[in-house]
Symmetry: D3
Subunit: 315 residues, 6 copies
């Protein structure tokens, strides 16, 4: 398998296709324009400088453009930087597609969809089942494409579905260990809890926040949408209110964005399963980059802690 850009070391030469994630123009001290590019493929990203650019270059080498380059990896202020030696935009005949340059969930779309369908099939409460089924149907393509967040955890293609399916697996086992749990409720809460992100985030390639996302946030948007959906489906039981509560409270505390804290057993559990799955995703990915006996870099979304991999772990 070809080595990804995320694993090149200082001194390596590079030749191949990459995607421009960001492009910004600068001026050197003697007034000449240059471009700072963030290049990426499915394994990671690297900064590059393109010197002495023409007006045409500035129009061509922009975000979401695929390019073919040769270059060499140097170090600049302690971080690797690609020194580009030749460059051209990709042609239709190159047969490359944006989706090849983006990180994906380690599980295939089909398998994720199958797990979702299976879970809905297991649900016995008809009101909960119908609402959940309707949302999956309405957003199927987006659920299987979107990341679960713009950064920190599950921030890759299919990340949202991967997060949901992983949480469902935990929920299934906890449901067996604590038989008082209402599994239908917990499953429904897990599947719906983050769907508001489909409207909060702009998309998959260079994920940002929508206006709606900034002014309302994914939690109130999803609470509202459950209400609309229940009306459309003519469902009226207490299940609608409880589902809205589960979405509303799943951040656990006012300070963390839930104006009401969990007041239902399954809502409390949903909050913890969400935390565990997000943390395991962050920790596993950070720890697989270090060797036994080493610390990871600081993890911003985990209170800036740095984690240790015991030296008795097998590599």
């Amino acid at each position: 398998m070809k080595k990804g850009i995320g694993s090149y070391l200082v001194g390596d030469s590079f030749e191949g296709f990459v995607l421009i994630k960001e492009s910004s123009r600068g001026l050197t001290s003697n007034g000449k324009p240059f471009l700072t590019l963030i290049l990426r493929d499915a394994t990671g990203e690297i900064e590059a400088k393109l010197w002495d650019v023409t007006k045409e270059d500035e129009v061509i080498f922009i975000a979401e453009q695929i390019i073919w380059i040769t270059g060499e990896v140097n170090q600049f202020r302690g971080k690797p930087q690609m020194k580009i030696t030749s460059i051209r935009p990709s042609q239709p005949t190159d047969g490359v597609h944006v989706s090849e340059f983006i990180e994906k969930a380690p599980v295939e779309r089909e398998e994720l969809m199958e797990k979702l369908t299976e879970t809905i099939f297991e649900m016995k409460n008809p009101n909960l089942q119908r609402i959940v089924r309707a949302f999956i149907k309405k957003y199927q393509e987006a659920i299987l494409t979107y990341p679960a967040a713009s950064k920190n955890h599950h921030e890759y293609v299919s990340g949202l579905a991967h997060h949901i399916v992983s949480m469902l697996a935990v929920a299934k086992e906890l449901g067996n260990l604590y038989p008082q749990i209402n599994k239908d409720l917990l499953y429904a809460g897990i599947i719906l809890h983050d769907l508001g992100k489909l409207k909060e985030l702009s998309g998959v390639v260079s994920t940002s926040y929508t206006l709606e996302g900034k002014l309302l946030g994914h939690i109130p948007m999803m609470v509202e949408e459950i209400g609309h959906m229940a009306k459309e489906l003519d469902i009226e039981g207490e299940e609608v209110l409880i589902l809205q509560h589960m979405v509303l409270s799943h951040h656990g505390k006012k300070e963390w964005g839930s104006p009401t804290p969990p007041l239902i057993r399954e809502a409390e559990l949903l909050h913890f399963i969400d935390l565990i799955d997000a943390k395991m995703n962050m920790l596993n990915r950070a720890l697989e980059k270090v060797k036994p006996g080493e610390f990871t870099g600081r993890l911003f979304a985990m209170d800036n802690r740095t984690f240790y991999k015991p030296s008795f772990e097998k590599e």
Copy 2:
């Protein structure tokens, strides 16, 4: 005018109709049942003990029953207490009604309604105007009856409408002083900001929280309802989103129940006008009970502060 129960002093005799607000049964040390009653009229409330009650008494003298009593005001553990000497439930022929025993806003319903109508008439943005008009039409009776809160401020009949109309008056003047303000937006936000309380609170006489109120809270409920209303009215402009944001953010901070803080000028202002009107309502009512040169009791909703009335104030 007849003296209200809120102004009787220790040693006074009392005779007249009062409303039972709460009733609870107790046993004396020698095992005899008695009732502890909270009695109220439109001016205030007082505790009373009814000794040696029969099984029948326990069924008759319950919350929301109007009674006729004679008695005398004593003191018990530093607080006034009514010693009931005779008691009977009110008869239809007495011609008394629950509404006479409940505190009301100092402004009449008709006047409040007129001010609301007038404001809507002044609005120029058709989307905002139509949404606001639809809500006023849908909830007119409740808006003119409900309190603005279960305690602390405007906790009386028509309290909600009184709060809204009072805030509109402030908004009008600030809109003149700072001409950049979008008055339509500010008016619409003020009128809608607390309408979720119509579903959050149980009613007027002995106000408590509904199940929906506890599990969702008035803010997310109203955000959702604005969405429904806009759909029903087929309104689609950015005004809908902005109105939802104004309601969502009007508590100002996550810790205070707004998962998103104000990000629109008029939303920021709405938050402050709401604070000022609530505080002036609490302060004015607390200060009118004390003389110049005295402190009020502690005001729970104002960080437990006790306020001073300067001795150079005219009484």
Copy 3:
């Protein structure tokens, strides 16, 4: 099955053996001594007054004494109170034992011990296994007897072992779902994390804090004891340090009593499994006392929240 004292209602007559949990002397307004007793059996507790007591009574009817009484349940200040009509201390011939009057874990000691042994047997890392085995051997009787806390969660006989075994079951499943987890480390952390409570708490019947418990707390005490044990067993690998870290960090934050936060993946997970199991224990026990459609009382250890049992739950 005989009805427990926890389920008697006002008006019921009572006859049988109960345990005195607390006893305190008072004086009536006319100067006569009486005793206020907290009586308990395995299902709950009730307050009782014993009037006109003699000097002898005061010596006999003290905490941890089993007594036989007849009486009647009254209500005093809104809470049930036993009116004792006859009383005598238990005799050896009565054949009753303190353990009958104390709440127990819903799982038998033997089964709990078996699960512990099984888990140790599964462990592959010899250093971790030896340390854990040595602690189980040293404290076997206490582990199977102590509560996990003096109040809030698992506060019953065998509560500590019940908590540990329940957490191990969760750990096993999470270990399967997230295969990167080092199960040996997680199991060892779970089994040891709260053993310091054996020195922090005074015992089972009327649990209080020891001097050591107050001045050091169970976390630093257990960290120290792991060090001692490793020395005794001549174990020197990094496992000792990591185990100490897991115990030290299992409260998650400085403010919650862990001077170091979790810096190992399995330590982070231990913290969350501990939280989930404690919360499920509190929630399940509180919710089984209320009917669908009702709220529980306030749960102090869960931020004073009151939880709702959906009305569509089967009773």
Copy 4:
């Protein structure tokens, strides 16, 4: 009207007089000295580099010097930067004055003074009136010149008077809407509340903190000065104490610099009027720089929020 330096875009040529706000010396990598200048006029500021400077240049081109330059606006690290092509210090014959290069309040001094005088004239309480009049007389020139703060809000010439007069207008309207308010007290509090800044801040051109300002702060300094003034004027009523309290408490909370919170109705109101006027000043100035449908930059003094200008606002 000539275009101000605040509105030049990258690529524009510039010729004209500007004020040096700050000047600092640096060395290039090959050891040659250069100056980094912050240039400003009444509309804004821009950074500039002056290369290859002589010893003489370093002495001439210092803060508060007016210079004539020609240059061109480039971009450096995402921010505009003036590339100076020729430069000379201003001559007396140029007829330019520092005051032309500094931002001013949008209301004239004379009008501000008139409003202040008018308000004092309206006051009926002689003690309050005399104290306020004495302060206005003592500091008239400074009040009409100083900014209200060194940054964030009203940070321009006459900013303090502008802030006071704007607050008085709000107070007048609130006084009409809530007739219980003691207008004399509120007016006096507003006029005096920030006069301590005349001693806390160094002046108008490049505003910094005085030693007194750093070691005491404007609030305790003004409390003290009210005491001195009352002594001088031989005023002894409770008004002096109340005025001192209003100044002392106007930041609202200990954490915000008021060791005593407001305990007088008018002190509470003063705090809110101060907040509203400062926030409206910041918001209006930030929003007038963006188009409908855009967000402002982050506003540091408003919890770093970024505000949105609805797309239905007229530009």
Copy 5:
């Protein structure tokens, strides 16, 4: 020496003079008036009930009246209570004085005054010395009489002087150990830091807060008074500002009442010496009431902690 009322135990008989600290009227369940008295002497206080009081009794037995009683100590709700068997107000011929019934500092007034004088004599900076000397002269009687606080620490006659003198002793030693300290400044700060309490507190017998104390607090009042004093003495050096800063900052943080934190070495030290002396006073008095091996009651002003007296301490 005669045993003080603070050391009587349940069952003891009492005969002697005591001071009424508080007196409040109540009604028994059958409507008869009684008085609840707080009685005190120089060693402590006890509650007492006086049954079947006449109108005359209510007028005689009021706060600050000295009375002669016989009685017996009982227990009521876990606290000792005096059962009065005979009572009469003191006569001039009894030769008893209020001052005998109030706790005093363990050091005599004369000795405290001497220490103050001595310290002032040691000071070399004439500005600091003159200001301090002037304050001691102005308030000499009050300084030697007032408590340092209304409760918590040094809350007894001469408590303020005792606190100052004790802090001066610590300062002297720290000044020797860290020779960089400016002793004059530290001494001046210590002597003046709490003199604002002479205006904040109402006096010695039943200490409460004055209006000035509530609305301004002792810190801003003293800052102002230092300013007045310096004017009166025609002192103008930086010492005045620094002294004001020391008083202003001596609570250490905004949240603790100092709007400016210490920014001078000696101010920082003053804050710590104040803390240490207050804490030692509280701790020593709480610990002298318990035996080795026991815990004190909860100390409110020390974060509600309860302190342990090691069992190896000599009693």
Copy 6:
């Protein structure tokens, strides 16, 4: 005395030996390698650039290497930077030693050791004395060499011993002023409180945290070690527990790293003496660098405050 590197000014020439504290490799914009060195001697440190380095240079000029250089002090981004003109590694014949280039306590090792011995000699409680003596014996060399912290206060050779001895002097005086203090306990607590740092910190030259230090921290490590030592010495009294408590609680609050707050008088005092000595060390060193009438730079470990040196201080 020769001028130290800490006092060279921009423009000065330098010639002499210095120690490389840190060395890191960079690439210039045209791809040539260079080294950024942090050079230090006993008086301070300076950054330097070494251009055009060879592969050999990169191996030679590393941390902890002593070098001889000539150079000139320039300024780069506002900070002084050494421009190296010639460089060579030190030779054995140069007769220079690492210890000459590191800051040392202002008191000699012998004197520090003498003070420690003296204090132990004064202790009367045999259990406390034996434990303390054993620790001093075990760690004598390290105690006299280690810094008290990696930065902020006493961060120099013998800093730990200097800190302990300085605290003992304060303790001795406080013990005299407050005779209730148990001096033996306080002395023992002071000597042991920070010895855990000998395992937490890596050493003296370029101090960092050990793995143990990161995962446990010096406080729990020292609590454990006191337990071990007591076992080894066969000491069993309450003194062991109390000493462990003193170490455990000496940071004062959970948030500051002490899971249990001080619950012993001497533990409370230890916390304050520690604070005072650390703060005086920081303040004195910061203030000796500025002139009267100036402010220090911001002191990170003192809430980022900047301190003022009064202009009436003698220089």
